[in-house]
Amino acid sequence: MDKKILIVDDEPHLRLLIARALQDLEDEGVELLTANDGEAGLAMIQDERPQLVFLDVMMPKKNGFEVCHTVKYELGIQDVCIILLTAKGQEIDIQHGEQMGADLYMTKPFDPDDLLAKAKAILGFE
């Protein structure tokens, strides 16, 4: 089965950074997909059914919380792990993210090694 990771962020440098951080997995045959806003991200989740999504919170058109909520509760897609990347890093946002159905969260700035380690664990690469 094809492994897919979706990166949703409106900042091109951050998409590049996350993609670079996940380069090892790409080498392992995991497909890296990117989307630059919430709506595009949501469409891609439906179309491509990635196993893992790195989802930025503050984005144009549809924010991360909304995308997360739609995926988990409205579309009922459960076989996807969503990691929220929040710049705020405050508890209230984390709680909110959890309520919205996020599986994990990471605060910016994140450690690329940490990000890679988490992705590997989730996708079963050890």
């Binding site: 900042e11 950074l17 705020k88 405050q90 910016k108 700035p109 994140f110 450690d111 690329p112 090694d113």
Partner: protein, 803 residues
């Protein structure tokens, strides 16, 4: 035959005698009949003038005369009270003469109380010769006394143009007649007296009733004048009241219309002490008659008294005090009598009491009205003052002040206008009555031309314009507005705030008679000053509120700004740190090992690239921590932080903090010593945040210490647990110590010394500790080190640590 003759003669004589007796009896019968008729007539007549009329006409039937006078004895004088046959009747009536002192036949009648007959009075008495009575010279004269109950009450004087006319027979008949006449005259006189007395009493009683029925001074004066003219027939009368100490002021007059405008005598005021005879009436409380002012040396000629000949003044005395007087006059000298004085005095006594009551009532009324007015004013002022201190909305204060002022001053309307910043015009902001249509609110009035308002602003003094429609104090345009609005009097009072005119308040009237008084000006100024204070208060309050709202908005903006900025900063920081880390990793894993060049420069470049990337990463992380602190502090201040309240152990908190700071301590080759008192009680609070506090304190200690140890100590002191972090660093000067917990205030000169840390660590610690009900403080000595401590409260129900 002789006997027959003599018998005949005798019969004849007897017959004659009988006939004579019969005629005599007849005459006596007629006489008696006349006397009876007189008695009848006299007894049915009761008025003196009618009685005299009957006496004179009936007397003529018994005793003939050409002229006859009825004279009444009054004291020692004889006064002619009636007559007939005289051509100068009007002159004779009331004529009075002293019979004893004159060469007069009456003297004999009065002296002897018997009839007295004179053959020819003109020959015997000098003054009779010069007198012309009726149609001819009086010659025969007879005087008959009028005796009532043996008392002489007067006499009848009968005149005849014939010498020696009257006989003793006449005298006898006249005496019989006079007896009846005297009785009739006396009865009539007594009746008249009684009637007059009764009438007077009736008038006085009615006057008393009328006078006591009113407490209105003008009505009392009217009543007094009404009744006075019934008792004393005057030409003019003036009622004076005393004002103050020595002024007599006319308060009511009557009868002057014949000579002048009654307003002239009504305006008379004078100092009575300067006129001796009037002063006497007032001070001696005695009535005074001046029989003929022409003969009176002290008479003061005044325009209203030009017609006066006879003058009478009666004091008005109430409760022993003279409150005024009334004076009456006659164009005829010697008119007023003692009887007039008596009447006038009786009435004066009653009138004085009524006047005094009215004056008291009036003064009480005035006092009460004054008191009521004052109460109303004070209440209104109080309302304005209360509003001024409690209401902070300027519009409401102005509305209230305008409506209160309208009521207090009984004004038609009250407008309040505020001066614009340039001082060129005023704008109406409030107008009473409210809901006026059209409303002048918003109306802009240029000051150019409006000289009155300009003056008010310049002098800061109130102006009252009486004739607003024609006043030269305003330009024609303003006057036209006044005419249009039918404004007659307008007051312009300045509204002063801190000595500056900020506007005007203007009550006006549409009543031409109404002019604002000095008292009302003062009232308006009082309200204006309270209002100005209120406006100022409201302005300051609004400023303060605006400032607070601004500060609050700024704070919200700041928090929002901080959240946004932190987000915006983190995104590039994420890239910077992320790419730096990956690059360093790539270099270390894939590039450096493959660089085989032994070139010294290449080796140095590799070492420097490694170091530089390390610096980029650590500085990036420092920046991240600064952003985190900023955000933390902002959230705490906003109250947006959700605090946990969980059981916690102080040793655990210190353990976690020392672990987190271990690498820092190791980097500076310092030693961290932990001194924790055993068996400390369990506390409750937000563990993570308290760990943050200890981390901050240790970080600081490490930062400012170059060698030696940093000690973290925890111990109990009564109800508190004290946690201290002790360093042996540079220390803090005493004057700087209070500043260390202030935001963005790092101790020392920030221009020369590189600031270390964010300057937010200690303020965050302070917020966290204080949230737990504790206290944070510093003890330090420059060059010897610092002790930062905080206290935490031990819960009331303490429980020991569960190991």
């Amino acid at each position: 035959m002789t006997s027959t003759q003599s018998l005949e003669t005798r019969y004849q004589a007897e017959l004659e005698a009988l006939q004579k007796r019969a005629s005599e009896l007849e005459a006596r019968g007629a006489e008696a009949e006349t006397l009876y008729a007189v008695t009848q007539a006299l007894s049915t007549k009761l008025s003196l003038s009618e009685v005299i009329e009957v006496i004179l006409s009936e007397l003529e039937k018994v005793v003939p005369y050409d002229s006859c006078s009825v004279q009444q004895l009054s004291d020692h004088d004889l006064v002619i009270i009636g007559g007939r046959g005289f051509s100068n009747m009007s002159e004779i009536l009331g004529l009075c003469f002293d019979p004893s002192s004159s060469d007069d036949p009456s003297n004999e009648v009065v002296r002897t109380r018997s009839p007295f007959i004179v053959e020819d009075v003109s020959a015997r008495y000098e003054h009779f010769r010069s007198r012309v009575h009726g149609k001819g010279q009086i010659r025969g004269w007879m005087g008959v006394p009028l005796l009532f109950e043996n008392r002489l009450i007067g006499m009848l004087a009968l005149d005849k143009f014939e010498v020696g006319f009257y006989t003793s027979e006449h005298a006898r008949l006249a005496m019989a007649f006079a007896a009846q006449a005297a009785t009739a005259i006396e009865h009539a006189r007594r009746y008249e007296e009684t009637r007059q007395a009764k009438e007077t009493a009736e008038v006085l009683r009615a006057a008393n009733v009328a006078l006591t029925q009113s407490l209105n001074l003008d009505m009392i004066f009217d009543t007094l004048l009404d009744y006075l003219c019934k008792l004393v027939p005057y030409d003019c009368v003036s009622i004076f009241l005393i004002e103050g100490d020595d002024i007599l002021a006319a308060r009511a007059v009557a009868g002057y219309e014949r000579w002048m405008d009654p307003r002239i005598p009504l305006s008379v005021r004078f100092e009575y002490r300067k006129i001796p005879h009037i002063n006497r009436v007032v001070t001696e409380q005695e009535s005074l008659i001046i029989p003929d002012v022409g003969q009176f040396p002290g008479w003061v000629k005044v325009p209203s008294g030009a017609h006066v000949r006879n003058w009478l003044a009666v004091p008005l005395v109430a409760s022993g005090k003279t409150i005024g007087l009334y004076s009456m006059d006659k164009t005829i000298p010697h008119f007023f009598t003692e009887e007039h004085i008596r009447m006038a005095e009786t009435l004066a006594g009653q009138a004085a009491i009524a006047i005094q009551n009215a004056l008291l009532f009036e003064s009480e009324l005035i006092a009460r009205e004054q008191a009521e007015k004052q109460t109303r004013q004070l209440t209104a002022l109080n309302r304005v003052a209360q509003a001024a201190t409690s209401m902070l909305d300027v519009k409401n204060i102005l509305d209230l002040a305008a409506s209160e002022m309208m009521q207090l001053l009984n004004a038609r309307s009250v407008g309040i206008a505020l001066l614009n910043a340039e001082g060129t015009c005023v704008q109406v902001v409030t107008y009473a009555p409210i809901n006026s249509d059209p409303s002048p609110i918003g109306l802009v009035i240029p000051l150019a031309g409006n000289i009155a308002t300009q003056n008010v602003i310049k002098t800061r003094q109130t102006v009252v314009i009486q004739d607003a429609q024609n006043t030269p104090l305003q330009d024609e345009a303003t006057r036209a507005v006044m005419r249009e609005r039918n404004t007659h009097c307008i007051m312009i009072t300045p509204l002063l705030a801190r000595g500056e005119v900020i506007g005007t308040i203007g009550p006006d009237t549409d009543d031409p008679e109404r002019v604002f008084t000095a008292e009302e000006v003062q009232l308006a100024e009082t309200i204006a000053s309270q209002m100005a204070g209120a406006i100022e208060n409201a302005r300051l309050y609004n400023q303060a509120q605006e400032a607070q709202a601004f500060a609050e908005a700024a704070n919200v903006a700041k928090s929002g700004f901080l959240s946004n900025v932190s987000h915006e900063l983190r995104t590039p920081l994420t890239s910077v740190i992320g790419f730096a880390k990956m690059t360093l990793k790539d270099l270390r894993e894939h590039i450096f090992p493959n660089v085989t060049a032994e070139d010294r420069k290449v080796k140095r470049a590799i070492a420097q690239a490694d170091e530089s990337l390390g610096i980029i990463i650590s500085e990036g992380e420092r920046l991240t921590s600064l952003i985190n602190n900023l955000l933390d502090l902002a959230k705490i201040e906003e109250g947006k932080v959700e605090w946990k309240n969980e059981p916690l152990r102080v040793d655990e908190v210190i353990e976690r903090a020392t672990m987190a700071t271990a690498s820092l301590v190791a980097q500076k080759e310092l030693t961290l010593v932990r001194e924790i008192e055993p068996n400390l009680p369990l506390l409750s609070g937000d563990r993570d945040r308290l760990i943050q506090v200890v981390i901050n304190l240790i970080s600081n200690a490490v930062k400012f210490t170059s060698q030696g140890t940093v000690t973290c100590r925890a111990y109990r002191e009564e109800h508190h647990i004290i946690v201290s972090v002790i360093d042996s660093g540079v220390g803090i000067a005493p004057e700087d110590q209070p500043k260390v917990f202030e935001k963005f205030k790092q101790v020392g000169d920030t221009l020369t010394e590189k600031p270390q840390g964010t300057g937010l660590g200690l303020p965050i610690c302070k917020e966290i500790v204080e949230h737990h009900g504790g206290r944070i403080w510093v003890e330090s000595e420059l060059g010897k080190g610092s002790v930062f401590s905080f206290s935490l409260l031990v819960p009331a129900e303490e429980s020991p640590f569960q190991e």
